[in-house]
Amino acid sequence: MTLDTVAVAAATPDLDQPWAALGLKEDEYRRIREILGRRPSSSELAMYSVMWSEHCSYKSSKVHLRQFGEKAPPSDALLVGMGENAGVVDIGQGWAVTFKIESHNHPSYVEPYQGAATGVGGIVRDILTMGARPVAILDPLRFGPADAADTRRVLPGVVAGIGGYGNCLGLPTVGGEVVFDPTYLGNPLVNALCVGTLRHGDIKLAKASGVGNLVVLFGAKTGGDGIGGVSVLASETFDADGPAKRPSVQVGDPFTEKVLIECCLEIFAADLVGGIQDLGGAGLSCATSELASAGSGGMHVVLDRVPLRDPTLSPEEILMSESQERMCAVVEPRHIDAFLRICDRWDVTATVIGEVTDSGRLVIEWRGEVIVDVPPRTVAHEGPVYERPFARPAAQDALQADGPTAGRLARPSSPEELRTTLLRLVASPNLAAKTWVTSQYDRYVQGNTVLAQPDDGGVIRVDPESGLGVAVSTDGNGRFTRLDPYAGAQLALAEAYRNVAVTGARPLAVTNCLNFGSPEDPGVMWQFAEATRGLADACLQLGVPVTGGNVSFYNQTGDVAILPTPVVGVLGVIDDVARRTPMGLGTPGESILLVGDTRDEFGGSEWAHDVHGHLGGLPPTVDLERERQLAEILVAGSRDGLLSAAHDVADGGLAQALVEMAVRGGAGARIVLPEDLDPFVALFSESAGRVVVVVPRSEELRFSDMCVARHVPVVRVGVVDGTALDVQGLFSVEVAELRHAAEATFPALFG
């Protein structure tokens, strides 16, 4: 086979090229020809096709994502904003935190273990690339029905993959979600969030500057795995023969990554790199073009120098390979010896593959001939942008009109019915204890985990001297977002924000993973447009800027899209982790208070879903000002030592919140429901903006005054006491029985 060099391409303008098979549209191919003034060589075509794929270019989402910047609230905390590998947030005392969430949905369906494992590996490298030590992971997951045969294939594999990779990297997993819904059956969602810590001065950026500086590829050798993974897997809808695409899934080696992390941190500490980029989606194509595009604008690469696992790989394959555990650094010649010495100490393969130039071109040669000669910005940052048509689906009105009213869905009313409903929901897959999952994750490693699942947020100590720490939580509710995408996205943010505040931390910044169906469907695109608008508006109102994130489209099987699922991660800071608020009930005699308003809100609720299989009506009301006040109360309550425990009221309502607090703390409670509410509504409504707090009797008045001063309603609903959850006048369940009901579900389903 003759090599398709740039010279050959110029001489053979009419050669038929497989642009369509590589996922490019005809007008996109035409634009590449215009940019180059000739047809692309096959290597150039490979690079453009992966970099212009939906996954890499955000071509359908870009016009909407701009709002996160345009509506960004003023924030002193942002050290690095959107556009880099991850945002960096100032948490004080010279410390900074970087965090970001990403998806690895399609690979995890095709090959659950490796898909999930490399999802963790990819986001960890993004965090590392910023110059930070990765310190924690959270994993929001969505699966098809819990009892579906394919869920029994996918879920255990995903969980083992996350554990297998994350545990082996020495990263504590401190939070996440496991949610089931039929729409995720052929399209599970595997999102992974990583948090890293660094000192202010240690921030690294992905740019190649300084003519003559060396481009070093280091880490694993390049193999044939994951070729075209980006364009083939992430940017196309699964059809009936989905699982046949196995070779496109990357294979991870956590040991190599662990060594790479330590090697990089040592290199960073010695201040030996000018710019750094990890190799993830689109591999070398992405790393070289992004580094060059963000820097001086020119780079010369000798592709023959790339160390290969498989010597038969073609140059196109080398450029597209998504082999894991690789990094690309820009190093001044005077530092190269020291750089290579550190790599050698860690037995990490490192190779100088090129240098920074002032040509304004990314030139790649192979066997002495030029196979790529392109303006790097056109590959990396000036891809196509689509204004996809979007329209509110006609059926949306009917969906919203079909609310779960008392007339529409039968509600439990007798004490026995209420008790049965409670036990049923406690054991339902979405609300049941996730111990079967989380016990497969190491939450202790690094020795800084202060709170971890099932607590509301993960809390990590950053500075052992001062006690400075961070809290992180992820939340998302696809059913709420389906009913009202604008409000649903805001509710996701509100819940994550609340969960961070519940631990005593002050919410600072946001990352998001926007999981949707096909952007080519105007109805899905409307969901996306509404959700991004809602999220951007809410971030502005709550004063928490978006620092980065990820969009995952084409999450559908055939014509059926998943529930629109924006997953929102919120990061907060806590000045002294010793002040964190736990969630379990503890000391008998302490007062249990419900903060916030409870309304008859069951649209999209767990009760409607689990008991009636119903989805209709409107999601709970969003009141962002209330959320902000609630967070102030929780942070002040933690700081002033008023709170013995606190827990967010969300899925399953007050009843579920109390059950979780009782099971977590191993103590019971006597509960008196507010008299002005129907007991069913009081127990199971999912009204937002609510928390349950436990305060010592001596602090009850002080806490209530704090709420009243902010016009936030607070009502005493009980007292910590005994060994049962005793809802006075209605029913009583022993905590041991609740624990059994909550913990038996997952082992029964998954072994």
Binding site: A160, G163, G170, K258, E262, R443, Y444, G447
Partner: protein, 225 residues
């Protein structure tokens, strides 16, 4: 001067910084040791931390056994230096034949991370003298291959000689024979265990501070040596 404890870092070690923190909290001085080192820098005791040394390829601990530092550790251990192997460190001690038996895949086939109740069966070792015989403690357990196995004669011998140092209480978390969580060599200076005492040294980050005794035991002994 406080006694010095070397903490070995292999490529893939994960709990090395945690072991070092535990030694410091117990009042000891830490000397980091690197797997390529050929001598022990004059330390008074050694901790082999948890993790996945060399990726745990082949068999857990099987490659670490051949690292340069292990020749030095094995030599010193045979001459009586206190050596503690935690989790992967326990696996390395078995592979190095400083301790009998082996660790196999958990019988659940899953990695397990939990707060584990344990009984200290022997306080006659360098690493458990600070406990009371029969003392019940809670320490994190986190491993995928923690099932302790040995032939019946070895197990009987370990029991008879009081070398079962720590035993699991309640449901056996990984299928270990006779619920063995940790053992010692005949001299009592070398101890290996699957649970992680270094993660139970601060009430803020651990379920208890029960694990601190392993480190205070050895430091106490070294001070009076």
């Amino acid at each position: 001067m406080a006694p010095t404890v070397g903490v070995v870092t292999f490529p893939g070690s994960l709990d090395d910084r945690d072991a070092a923190r535990a030694v410091r909290l117990a009042g000891g001085q830490v000397v980091p040791l690197w797997h390529k080192d050929t001598h022990l820098m004059g330390v008074d005791a050694v901790v082999l931390p948890g993790g996945f040394s060399y990726g745990d390829y082949l068999r857990c601990g099987a490659i670490a056994r051949f690292s340069p530092i292990m020749s030095a550790v094995v030599g010193a251990a045979r001459e009586g230096m206190p050596v503690l192997g935690i989790c992967n460190g326990f696996q390395i001690l078995c592979e190095s034949h400083l301790l009998p038996g082996a660790l196999t895949r958990n019988d659940s086939l899953h990695f397990v991370c939990r707060d584990q109740a344990l009984r200290i069966e022997s306080t006659a070792t360098a690493w458990t003298s600070a406990y009371v015989p029969g003392q019940e403690v809670v320490v994190p357990l986190k491993n995928g291959e923690g099932g302790y196995v040995a032939d019946e004669r070895t197990l009987d011998e370990l029991e008879a000689e009081g070398r079962v140092v720590v035993r699991y209480l309640g449901a056996n978390p990984n299928g270990s024979r006779r619920a063995i969580a940790g053992i010692a060599n005949a001299a009592g200076n070398v101890v290996g265990l699957m649970p992680h005492p270094e993660h139970a040294v601060e009430s803020l980050t651990g379920p208890t501070t029960d694990g601190l005794g392993f480190f205070t035991s050895v430091l106490e002994r070294l001070v009076h040596a």
